[in-house]
């Protein structure tokens, strides 16, 4: 626990600094409100439409594959940490784990899930 004290201090300082700066701005800055100031800035043009458009569903596959491989990395991380203790047994185990997932990678690749079209 003690090792985290510097981090806590750091977070405290950072947080305080942020809040102080923000409130200092509120107190110090001149306040002149205009309608144009609150409009959305779009290259100096008046905005044509909302900026939030529906994305293509392809992004979803990419995001989903990212999550799955991310979870895989979560298991690689502790394996790397404890590798000196578990040795060959752990190596074989991790190879099995990865082989099963490589089949999934192979599948995604062959089905064209990694391509944009």
């Amino acid at each position: 626990m003690n090792g985290y004290l510097p981090i806590v201090m750091f977070l405290l300082v950072a947080g305080t600094l942020g809040i102080v700066v923000m409130f200092a701005g509120v107190i110090v800055r001149p306040k002149k409100y205009e309608k144009v100031k609150f409009s959305v800035y779009e290259c100096g043009m008046p905005p044509l439409d909302e900026n939030r458009k529906r994305l293509n569903v392809r992004f979803y596959i990419i995001a989903m594959l990212f999550v799955i491989f991310d979870v895989e990395t979560v298991f690689l991380f502790p394996w790397a940490v404890s590798f000196d203790m578990i040795g060959l047994f752990g190596l074989i185990e991790m190879i099995l784990f990865l082989v099963i997932l490589v089949f999934g990678y192979f599948y995604a690749w062959q089905k064209g899930a990694l391509e944009w079209d």
Binding site: I100, F103, G104, F106, Y107, Q110, K111
Partner: protein, 479 residues
């Protein structure tokens, strides 16, 4: 190889073989052409047959490996056999349905195959971590199977509903698990039992955790009051996957629950009997009463699936070997009759403006398609538990086990419920045999649907007429 290593391998080899076959299926799916995707399913059946033959256990032998985590014995095998039946029947019957709906993809079979692996782990688990990992594998596969027809809004709705409720129930289950772990200090069934004998059973922590865990289980077997998802999901899902989903995951959850109660919760068995008794009564009665009011046969079968889950729970209440033998037998019979019924349901196409599965579609089918009507009649009679057919044997065995445990009130309620259930199953046959056709209905049974329903009907009749053989078979396997 030390004896320990051999034991480890023996305790897990069917699952290992199944996983390797599943990976081969993934490759096969990539390699086959689009119009030949049913090959993947047929290969899956072949692989299952091979695994069943390899994995046939010596009766009475128990292989417990990996630090008492996984068990391969005849109990696991019987449930594996049920999943294999469900997979094979569903695959055989699904081809034409999937083709007509434009969703004949190899993934359907691959995912179903991997769900079987998950279910095997569930049933053979001796440790809650293994159980939970297996359950999630099964559950994720089921979400995908429910939403497989992505062009159909109902199917997508079913998939999302199932996913949200499933994730929620998993969360409840895990939260309960943490409490049980906190109270007993272990996730291993044997160690939990030891801790309960040592006094952990009376702690509030344990009781609270157990209630949450059992609620999670109840979600999976769609026991009332945790059944809300079931009708919508079973109705919305593509018909073949609905057939599979009503049988295999339920059998798996039942098998795992029995093992968990029988081994880990053995010291608190008496406390549980009442809990499961009440759950069984509510589930049966509610499922049957609501099924009475349904005009859509698929939705009616969904509610009847809830009622059947309640009936299977009855076998759990008796807490004797007859109880779980009867549950296993019931699950086998239920696999044959329910997947058969769902397969036949999938071929009905109403050319009028109403849903294919409406009761009116079935009016007068005995005149336009007598073979179809006969098949449906057999399944409906069996589901209702009319004496010469298999459904009766299943119900009879469950009620006998309850009687043996001297739970007469439960046996009586069970009997009354099966009488109640007759009404809505009979309604389908009455529509088929005594009503005039209202709409133009096409119920041509395709070859693949014919094979499944034929096997189902033959097995239903065989088990019905020669019950002693099958009952003894299950009994010798589940000593």
């Amino acid at each position: 190889m030390t004896p320990q290593a051999i034991m480890n391998l023996l305790s897990i080899y069917p699952e290992v073989i199944m996983t390797m076959f599943g990976l081969i299926l993934v490759v096969l799916d990539v390699m086959t052409k689009n119009e030949k995707k049913s090959m993947v399913g047929y290969f899956g059946i072949a692989f299952l047959v091979i695994t069943v033959l390899i994995a046939w256990p010596p009766v009475g032998k128990k292989f417990l490996g990996f630090g008492n985590m996984v068990m391969w014995d005849s109990y696991s095998f019987v449930f594996f056999f049920i999943f294999a039946i469900a997979y094979s029947l569903t695959t055989l019957g699904s081809v034409s349905y999937l083709k007509e709906n434009g969703i004949l993809k190899g993934e359907f079979y691959t995912i179903m195959f991997f769900s079987v692996v998950g279910m095997m782990f569930m049933v053979s688990a001796y440790d809650l971590t293994v159980f939970y990992a297996g359950m999630e594998t099964m559950a994720i596969s089921m979400y995908i199977l429910a939403g497989f027809n992505k062009k159909c809004a109902r199917s997508s709705e079913a998939g999302i509903k199932y996913f949200i409720i499933g994730a929620f129930s998993s969360g409840i289950f895990l939260y309960g698990l943490t409490f049980v772990y906190g109270a007993t200090g272990s996730m291993n069934y044997l160690e939990i039992a030891a801790a309960l004998k040592g006094g952990a059973a009376s702690t509030t922590t344990f009781k609270f955790g157990l209630v949450l865990m059992l609620a999670g289980f109840a979600f999976k077997i769609s026991a009332v009051p945790f059944h809300m998802w079931a009708p919508d999901v079973y109705q919305g899902a593509p018909t073949p996957s609905a057939g599979f989903m009503t049988v295999a995951p339920k059998a798996a959850a039942m098998g795992a629950l029995i093992r968990f109660c029988w081994i880990a919760l053995e010291p608190v068995g008496n406390m549980l009997a009442l809990f499961f008794g009440i759950l069984a009564v509510i589930t049966m009665t509610y499922g049957n009463l609501v099924a009475l009011a349904q005009n859509n046969v698929k939705r009616m079968l969904a509610y009847s699936a809830i009622a059947h889950a309640g009936f299977m729970l009855m076998g759990l209440v008796s807490m004797n070997p007859e109880g779980y033998q009867s549950v296993a037998l019931y699950a086998i019979i239920y696999a044959f009759m329910n997947i058969g019924a769902f397969t036949l349901l999938g071929v009905v196409k109403n050319k009028g403006m109403i849903d294919d599965e409406r009761l009116e579609s079935f009016a007068g089918l005995s005149k336009t398609n007598p073979m179809y009507a006969l098949g449906m009649l057999i399944f409906m009679f069996s589901l209702a538990g009319i004496p010469p057919l298999a459904g009766f044997i299943g119900k009879f065995q469950v009620i006998m086990a309850t009687m043996k445990a001297e739970l007469y009130w439960l046996a009586i309620i069970g009997g009354l419920n099966s009488a109640l259930a007759c009404y809505y199953y009979m309604r389908v046959t009455i529509y088929m045999y005594f009503k005039e056709p209202e709409y133009e209905v096409d119920a041509t049974v395709s070859r693949s649907a014919f094979i499944t329903s034929f096997i189902g009907a033959v097995m239903v009749i065989l088990i019905g007429f020669f019950p002693t053989f099958f009952v003894n078979l299950v009994k010798t396997l589940l000593v």
